[in-house]
């Protein structure tokens, strides 16, 4: 099963029902906003998306991940809008028979997301100035 969502509210974790007794691994990744960018403290990040295309690209990548790796489920929530330091901006859960394929699929999925999904972040500095974030790690 694949679920991808781009939301503007705080992210609630997926709670997958483990109806598939073949799943021996459930891997969870939470990406959080750091409070400092390029040495400067920030108030928050403001994530901007190209609405429509961002979710389509995310879904395409999830489908590719499920074809490329022997995983059974991939769930992804990406938050847009204002996200304060410490809050989760990306939540991904992958289920598979063994841990190795989940770990490899997770790494691949997040790397590809950071290359292809049209989402950007603006850093809002402590003095309120809004600049395009330079962070693309």
């Amino acid at each position: 099963m694949i679920i991808v969502e781009i939301i503007s509210e705080p992210i609630e974790s997926f709670q997958p029902q483990n109806n598939n007794s073949q799943n021996g691994a459930e891997l969870v990744f939470n990406g959080r906003v750091r409070g400092v960018e390029n040495g400067e403290p920030i108030k928050y990040l403001d994530y901007e998306q190209y609405e429509g295309m961002a979710e389509t690209e995310l879904r395409n990548l999830a489908n590719k991940a499920c074809s490329k790796f022997p995983i059974n489920d991939l769930f992804c929530r990406h938050r847009v809008g204002k996200v304060k330091a410490g809050e989760t901006s990306l939540h991904v859960v992958i289920l598979s028979k063994h841990r190795k394929e989940s770990i490899e699929a997770m790494d691949w999925f997040i790397l590809e997301l950071k290359k292809h999904v049209p989402i950007w972040k603006w850093a809002i500095l402590k003095d309120g100035i809004r600049v395009p974030s330079e962070c693309a790690h």
Partner: protein
């Protein structure tokens, strides 16, 4: 003539100072022609920033002739996650 809508995000929005622009172009204009116009309009703020092009919400693989009503986005390096 054709009319093309350009939506602006991230560094492109920062450089141009707007969310959206409409251009009236010659009928045989290409995606590269429009990129040149955008880069000229933005000035040095887009120097050294690579831009991928999406037309009607799909990434372009190669230079394409624009069609009347196309929605074009010049996509600076993305930063999801």
């Amino acid at each position: 003539m054709i009319f093309i809508k350009v939506k602006c995000f991230s560094q492109v929005k920062y450089a141009l100072g707007v969310d959206e622009l409409t251009f009236q172009l010659d009928e045989d204009s290409t995606s590269n022609d429009l990129e040149n116009i955008i880069r000229k309009k933005a000035g040095p703020k887009l120097n050294n920033i690579s831009l991928r092009i999406a037309i009607n919400q799909k990434y372009l693989i190669e230079e394409t002739i624009l069609q009347d009503g196309d929605e074009v986005v010049f996509i600076p390096p993305v930063q999801g996650g």
